[in-house]
């Protein structure tokens, strides 16, 4: 099955937030987080099932909003696969938070 059907099939607590059947992103960053994770999986950076399993676990912890869990899982996978390092992500996030970079989505 193609990745997109498997994304759509996210089930139970991991089901994507929707309204009228359509995906709902409460803020632009949520859409970006969604698109990044799906895209890199399509490009073969990791297996979608791996993402899904981690997402279910993360959501199970129950203390974050849906796309916060999503982003945390995405970041942890990139760290595990050594696509990015913790240091560069923290540094870059700090630059955005301090408005040293233009926060444009």
């Amino acid at each position: 099955m193609s990745v997109d059907n498997r994304v759509a099939y996210l089930d139970g607590e991991a089901a994507l937030p929707r309204k009228n059947g359509e995906l709902v992103f409460a803020a632009p960053w949520e859409g970006r987080a969604f698109g990044l994770a799906v895209l890199l999986s399509e490009k073969g950076a990791y297996d979608w099932d791996d993402f899904r399993k981690r997402l279910v676990e993360e959501i199970g912890k129950g203390d974050e909003a849906y796309y916060e869990s999503w982003l945390a899982v995405f970041e942890s996978l990139l760290l595990a696969r050594e696509v990015v390092t913790r240091e560069e992500v923290s540094k870059r996030a700090g630059e955005y938070a301090a408005l040293e970079r233009d926060p444009v989505f």
């Binding site: 997109d4 994304v7 099939y9 139970g12 059947g21 969604f34 990044l36 992500v89 870059r92 989505f105």
Partner: protein
């Protein structure tokens, strides 16, 4: 997807929240590393925002294919059955699921406007709302179906269901041969929006047949 980011932070940008800053950081790093482009992310987001709706209906169909008692409940009481799968259905609207069989093919239309079972199928495709589809599907369904590349033998009866604001229809397609032993997830993957409108039948893609 367009982002209107040019109206209130040109001069006094607001600092992004920690989670936003991390999302920005990851995207910019991945772009710099040449792993993706922002345009590709745009494309994915917009594709999913618009095309993913029908997958809820596909899950309903797949469940009905593997679970005969679920299928019976679905045919008897559509809203209650889709609710079992966690799909909300507006209480004021009836959902009638019509089953395709060897000698009966069903197709849905809304002759008056564009009534559509959106909680299970998402937003209707543009052609569903077009005047020619709405008028011709009732008058000459076989011809219209042929235009969708669906050629039905003469012995197959075609039932056209005209939706209204009170009653919406969804087609339960026939499970294709060659899918024995498939998981629900695999089955859902071959159920397209068009199958549930009734202008197509589920097909097994070469990729899945090889799995």
């Amino acid at each position: 997807m367009s982002h209107d980011h040019d109206h209130d932070h040109d001069h006094h940008p607001e600092a992004p929240s920690p989670v936003e800053a991390r999302a920005l950081a990851l995207e910019s790093l991945l772009v710099e590393k040449g792993l993706l482009t922002s345009e590709e992310v745009d494309r994915i987001v917009s594709m999913y925002e618009h095309d993913i709706g029908p997958m809820l209906g596909a899950r309903v169909v797949a469940r009905a294919w593997v679970d005969e008692s679920y299928k019976q409940r679905l045919l008897e009481d559509g809203p209650a059955a889709v609710k079992e799968l966690g799909i909300g259905y507006p209480p004021a609207t009836q959902l009638v699921v019509v089953e395709n069989k060897g000698d009966v093919h069903n197709v849905i239309v809304c002759t008056l406007c564009s009534c559509y079972p959106w909680p299970v199928l998402g937003l209707p495709p543009t052609w569903y709302k077009s005047a020619p589809y709405r008028s011709r599907m009732v008058r000459e369904p076989r011809t219209v179906l042929e235009e969708f590349n669906l050629n039905l033998p003469d012995e197959v009866a075609v039932n056209v269901w005209d939706s209204s604001s009170d009653v919406r229809y969804m087609v339960l397609p026939e499970r294709p041969a060659g899918t024995e032993g498939w998981s629900e997830e695999q089955l859902a993957g071959i159920v397209t929006r068009d199958c549930m409108i009734g202008v197509a039948r589920p097909r097994i893609p070469a990729e899945s047949a090889a799995r």
